[in-house]
Amino acid sequence: MNEPSISGLLPYIPSPRTLWKSFTFWIWVLFALLIANAIPDYVVQYWFNLSLGYQSIFWTNIYMQIFLFMIYGIAVALAIYLPMRLYTSSHLLKRASIHFSIWVGAFAGWLLAQEYLQFLLLSNGVPFGERDPVFGKDIGFYVYTLPALRIILTALGFLILLSFISFLIARWNELIAKKIKQKTHTKVRTTIALLFSPLYFRILLISFGVIVTIRTYFGRYSLLLKSNEDSGVRTGADYLDLQGFFSSLNRIYLATIVVVGLFLLATYIFHRINKHYGWITRTSNPKDPHPGGHIARLIRVPTTIGLGLFALYIGFSLCVIIRDSFFVKPNEPYIQLEYIDRHIKATNKAYRLDNIETHEWNPPKEPLSPENLLASKTLQNVPYLPTWVTYLEEPPDLHHYERINVSDSTMVFGPMLSIYQQQQQLRPYYDFLSVDGVRYSVDGQKQMFVSAVRELPSLAFIGKQEWLKYWGSAALLLTHGMGLVMSPANSIDEMGSPEYAVKDVPPMTTHPVLEHEPRIYFGEGAKDDYVLTNIKYLKEFDYATEQSRREFTFPEDLIDGLDVSSFFHRLIFALHTKDVTAFLFSRYIDHEKTRVHIRRTPMTRASSIAPFLFLDSNPYAFIADKKVLWMVNALTTSREYPYSFPEVLGDKADERAIETFPERIINYAEDSVKITIDAYSGEVHFYKIADDPIVNTWSRVYDDLFEPISAMPEEAKAQLTYPLQWFHIQFDDIYKRYHQKYPIEFYNVEDLWDDADETIGSIGRGLSGFGTRDQLTFSYEGYNILLDPADLPEGVEAGNPGELEYVMLLPFTPEGARNLRSLIIAFQDPEDYGKLVNLRIPQGMFVPGPEQNDAYICNDRPVHQQVTMWIRHASEVIRGGTFLLPIGGDLLYLETIWANSIQNELPQLKIFAVRYHDLITSGTTLEEAILNRNLVLGLLPASEGQSASDR
């Protein structure tokens, strides 16, 4: 055996041919892989839509995607290949260009095909029927046409750029091949001139010029979405943009003219160059390298004109800047008021705040008697068992994080979730992921319940657990959760624990209206995992009986589930799920009967059918006609509404959502769609609830997608809720500033609000002492109650007095102060759905805000003593949510205080603290608190109570 040659041991530069061979080989392999990876996804998407009856949506999407892919892909491929075909004689380059044009064309086509939704909007747009105040265009032009036009122009720009690069390579190669430089003995600039002389280049130049011109001209519409924070018009064109000769608008028009001029001049220059030099490339024996004169002489005049045009533009821009500094800024805000007014109106309209009812709320000076308070239906039904969970906000405030982190959890307040997990989880494989508020009419009385779904979280959701260790368990046996758990939200037992209306496995109910099909195949915990039903040899695990187990088979008459009857089906699922062995080799799969259930979370299910909708991150389950249904609130959005301020929709979801939906920047939205998903059968329905142009457009695009709200079952309709994220963005982001309707007030920011804060969560957990410094303050989110309209201040017309309305509330304080400024109420029952009321406290009146109320309660002697006692005896004390309640036209605060064992998380509601007018009262029940008996200390043994108070 010979030793390796020394020269063979060191690296070397490979030849271009070697490089090209390797490169093309692997690019083709890559292409094959990408296609192989994409095909299963597309096929499964089709089967998924087909199984739910939405196959027409799939075809609508795919036709548009194919159309865009083909059109742009072919155009790009030709743009790359044509110059090579026309301008080079190198076979190598021509061959290479075929490969390149296919690769780049396919990639470009794929990129554009991703924009299919925008093009579907473009081709089906329903006009808004409103016109912008500057150009008089229908808003639909901004929402549908302009974004698509921008994409088209960008795509064409790329196309021309690619063609230009291809042309450059081909032409350069040709000039070198013909030894032009040696023939003409000319300078480099002549060679460069020859490079650009062909007609093709001038066509590219003119095309590019047209695109740049259109883009520049269309820049005028961008003025209506421009940020003008400095002038007080936060979004949209201001005085300087529109008025006078030296305005931004005229600058755009001038820029358009300059662009046209520059491109015409450039074309003319290259035309002259071709005329004088083009012949060199067509002859084999040029004699005079400068027959038509030097290049400098050819381009002198047009270049001078071009520079002049450019200087004109720069000069004009300087004049605009000077005018702004000397004539506009010193005259603000007066000259901007008209534009600020446009901005306020557009923003309020786009965020659906223009029809909000505002009432002055002047709480009466005389308090109601305790008996009258107790007679209030609102107070009787106050949901003091919280129907929500508070999590540490994101972005995280380190100040909070360091305190909370001792428990290795970001949950701040969630007693009901903890209680349900302790008392009703029952088996290791079940879990409760969140709690929600629902309402039912029980014996003719509307009542609010805390409700949670006993889910069976999947492998992808909770990771490998003992009971999910094997594929057989995770995919074949443990397929579904078991029922709901429910407690009346206004009732506790003597221990301070909730009472149950639905509990245990299988679920036991206290009332027929709460009976339901308990099997939960589709839930928030079923993330990313599939299950197989109707398998051979085995049956699914249903639930544990007293000392054994019960089995179940998913009924064949239910619609969900994709069949695996053919090898092709199984192969596609194997590739799609990456679970090759399971689908190709498992003997459990019955080719005739077995079904695969995929996309089992409510959000995934809804978004894979209608990805254009923004989904509120808080799906909730309820009982309707003995079925458990999930409700997902969906919005149609845009960020192109002229003059409207943009905000991030969904940013608050991160902290609480089990499954977050990508955030969107919007400046227009409508609460337009309600989606129900059957937790047992997987059936999905989309109900259109608003007459919004965007949802109407989607309705036109997808004929079969939406059903009218009238088609929604009454029991589902009775569970409608206002989308929490939408409520948040409307009020906490927009209305807090845009309620200032007068432009001068808005400019001066005279009445900026802030969502009220409350003290909530554990006191001093993991910390050594007790004190107010150890408590956390968080912003309110909208909270739900049952409100008797009779308790609202006079003049508010909503619902019928005596008939409870399900409403969402959010209090506001002035920015930088803590007194109450406003209470926003959103009505959620079907009759008044979406009605918004603003109860506004007079600006000069002091009414304590929630945080101030919390401080009063904290300092109240009985409460303080009891809390101190618990903490000293190794209990954790949790401050519950503070309810701000309108009662008899007046205002009452209720806060709950919970005690919890540090060793074992089982919170108990121990104290009701009420603040009404200037009285703080507390008790172990709401009634005791209202009747001011202060019995808290009475609960303790006398010696401890004495000891505590002595200290």
Partner: protein, 413 residues
């Protein structure tokens, strides 16, 4: 008739300047691809979406922790606070005021420096094996001279640089070249050991998918970068195993190992040293990933990726560094690394961020070592090295190594 003169030099090696141009162009194209295509897609929106692009870039910068520094310089205005040319909405980039310890960063510097140093030590052991007298200087430092040259030029002229530097310090040509070659052999062995170890650790169930992808990427990287040099085996185009074998210069590799069998202690010692060297480097990369995360769980870069997957991804990407195809493997290393992280379920943004951090770390430290190497022993000039490399590449490969491929290991003489 095709104009062959335009494509091939008389010796059949082609216009190598085109290859060099390609070496640079590809690097920039790949980086452009990463920045324009991968980053905007981080959270799902379209690459045409300017806001998503802005978010992707800002988030990446935020991960680099320079947001606060940029705010201090009034370049960015963080949310509504302070002054700045660019406004960064914290909600948009999902970051907040964060506190970081410097410990993970210092650890990463330390470990990667150690890994680089151990490669020099390995060269020293090999020099001793090939009987280069201990009086020859620069037996460690010349390694960094070569590595440094590879930061600037494509196709790995650094090996020639190291060999020439060793010669200038008194070594003869053959052992100098062999030392450099064997050092590269052990780099490849180290990668293979880590890969095999990782895949065995994952077990049958966990390793099937990573293995398939790893094998494919491995094949692609190996055949593109040719980590063991210029074999000229005749290989059919779609015979992938043969391509890998050829690209690995399998015949020479087997022969090298056979030769080292005479000193089994040295062979196994160097294999262990090579694996440890790469292992330490991987820990360094892991540390820098931790260093540039925030203390909050949600902001730890690639928090769900386990160390074994991380090690496999880095090991595969490191093949690209054995003989860099582009300068400093710019673009290729990043693309492979991002791709591998994607295979293991990470998002584009975090994968790109970690990859760029790794690249900065290793290339930065290599450059520092290179600067030191310039003063520690005799060495040829950098440009001379490149010129020699270019000239040498134009020489046709001798016929004796133009042998048919034989993956089965049968000799074919």
């Amino acid at each position: 008739m095709e104009d062959k003169s335009n494509m091939l030099t008389p010796d059949g090696r082609g216009p190598l300047s085109a290859s060099v141009g390609w070496g640079y162009a590809l690097a920039f194209l790949l980086m452009l691809f990463i920045f324009l295509i991968l980053l905007p897609d981080a959270e799902g929106p379209s690459p045409w979406d300017a806001v998503a692009f802005q978010k992707g870039v800002l988030e990446m910068f935020a991960n680099f922790r320079i947001l606060d520094e940029l705010a201090d310089l009034s370049i960015v205005k963080v949310a509504d606070v302070g002054k700045g040319i660019l406004k960064v909405d914290l909600d948009l980039v999902s970051v907040s005021s964060r506190k970081f310890g410097w410990a993970p960063f210092l650890i990463s510097l330390f470990f990667v420096s150690i890994a680089l140093f151990l490669r020099g030590i390995r060269q020293r052991f090999l020099a001793s094996h090939f009987k280069i007298p201990s009086s020859v200087r620069g037996q460690i430092s010349t390694h960094y001279f070569g590595r440094g040259i590879n930061l600037f030029f494509p196709f790995g002229p650094g090996d020639l640089g190291t060999a020439q530097a060793l010669r200038q310090n008194g070594a003869s040509e053959k052992p100098a070249t062999q030392v450099v070659y064997y050092n590269r052999v052990f780099e490849v062995i180290g990668i293979t050991v880590i890969l095999l170890g990782g895949l065995i650790y994952l077990g049958w169930e966990g390793a099937v998918e990573p293995f398939l992808w790893t094998a494919l990427i491995f094949a692609a990287v190996v055949t593109l970068t040719r980590p063991l040099g210029p074999t000229k085996d005749k290989i059919k185009r779609y015979n992938i195993p043969a391509r890998i074998w050829g690209a690995f210069n399998g015949r020479a590799l087997v022969q090298s190992l056979k030769e080292l069998r005479s000193k089994p202690q040295l062979l196994f010692g160097l294999i262990i040293l090579s694996a440890i060297t790469l292992g330490i480097e991987i820990i360094g990369y892991w540390s820098i990933k931790q260093a540039f995360s925030s203390p909050m769980d949600d902001y730890i870069l690639m928090k769900d990726l386990n160390f074994i997957h991380f090690a496999i991804a880095i090991a595969i990407a490191n093949i690209a560094r054995v003989i860099p195809y582009t300068f400093a493997s710019f673009g290729i290393y990043e693309l492979i690394s991002v791709f591998m992280f994607r295979i293991f379920g990470e998002g584009y943004l975090s994968a790109t961020t970690v990859t760029l951090l790794d690249s900065l770390l290793i290339n930065g430290l290599t450059f520092v070592f290179f600067l030191f190497s310039l003063f520690l022993s005799k060495r040829p000039s950098i440009l001379d090295t490149w010129r020699n490399f270019f000239d040498q590449s134009q020489v046709k490969i001798p016929k004796e190594i133009l042998q048919p491929s034989n993956p089965g290991g049968e000799k074919n003489e």
